[in-house]
């Protein structure tokens, strides 16, 4: 925002932020973006434009991104792909899978498998993933339980 622009109107910002927080809380439900924009501002198109100026995404793009982020979190927690899909508000596994692959760059099942593999490795040899200076400060290097590796 350039210095030449006016100090923004607080009430307008609050409405846009409330719409964003509404998506953050209700992403898993069948939320109607028309209703959000109606509540946030008088004109739908004006609202969408303002939302995009503030967040860099339209409300719909933001909703999709939020759902994929939450799906990633569920996959990391070990939920099956189909559960992750429906728990974040998708109706169809194929539209979820397609969007996931486009946004994340790998399929949901590959993402989950890589994460679990990485997690097992970290549990097995945690000190291989922690900078030595921190391990030393905590006194972890003296603890033989954490020094066992397969090497």
């Amino acid at each position: 925002m350039s210095a030449a622009q006016e100090y923004p109107k607080v009430y307008l910002y609050r409405r846009i932020v409330q719409a964003k927080l509404f998506i953050d809380v209700n992403y898993a439900d069948k939320i109607d973006l028309d209703n959000i924009s109606d509540e946030a501002y008088f004109s739908k198109f004006h609202f969408i434009r303002l939302f995009k100026t503030v967040y860099g995404k339209t409300p719909h793009q933001y909703l999709k991104a939020t759902r994929i982020e939450k799906a990633k979190q569920l996959l990391r927690e070990g939920k099956p792909v189909s559960d992750a899909c429906f728990l974040v508000g998708f109706d169809s596994l194929s539209s979820f899978s397609g969007l996931f692959k486009r946004m994340v760059g790998q399929s949901a099942s590959a993402y989950a498998a890589h994460y679990q593999q990485n997690k097992e490795q970290k549990a097995k040899t945690p000190l291989a993933f922690i900078p030595g200076c921190y391990a030393y400060q905590h006194g972890w290097t003296e603890n033989s339980n954490f020094e066992e590796t397969d090497q």
């Binding site: 925002m1 350039s2 210095a3 923004p8 607080v10 910002y13 609050r14 846009i16 932020v17 409330q18 964003k20 927080l21 100026t53 503030v54 967040y55 860099g56 970290k122 549990a123 945690p126 993933f129 922690i130 900078p131 921190y134 030393y136 400060q137 905590h138 006194g139 972890w140 003296e142 603890n143 954490f146």
Partner: protein, 142 residues
């Protein structure tokens, strides 16, 4: 040749509370959460658009490097709000301010125009303070 900073630390008083603050309030991404003994974790988070910078949420506890009097002194200073952790960048400082405030983040200063740009100051759950600034505060300088 040094090229980047990839790991730095924030001393925190309670890792569970810091986890909630940095993940659920600030919206940071969890990188690692590895149990390292009964009540300590290797806990690191990243700013959402900067995955190659890990912030270690480093618990202040008595250990090899922290004799009791050192830990006590550090805890006292953190609680007094002596330590600033740096500048966090956002796209829109007014929206970010409203959002963080709605989530219960304690601000020391609302977005204010300074000679170097607009700045807000807030504290984390331990007392460490951050400066919140929009992207263009410094990148316009020659």
């Amino acid at each position: 040749m040094i090229t980047k900073m990839t790991v730095t630390n924030i001393h925190v008083l309670d890792q569970d509370s810091a986890y909630d603050f940095y993940i659920n309030k600030l919206g940071f991404t969890l990188v690692d959460d590895i149990p390292m003994g009964p009540d300590t974790r290797w806990l690191t988070v990243s700013p959402p658009e900067q995955p190659d910078l890990q912030l270690v949420l480093f618990p202040v506890k008595v250990s090899k490097m922290f004799p009791k009097e050192t830990a006590d002194a550090l805890i006292k200073l953190i609680k007094q709000g002596i330590f600033g952790c740096g500048v966090l960048t956002c796209n829109d400082i007014f929206a970010t301010y409203e959002e963080l405030k709605a989530k219960g983040v304690e601000f020391i200063k609302p977005p204010t125009k300074e000679f170097y740009g607009t700045e807000a100051l807030f504290k984390d759950d331990s007392g460490n303070y951050f400066s919140l600034q929009p992207l263009n505060n410094f990148d316009q300088q020659p």
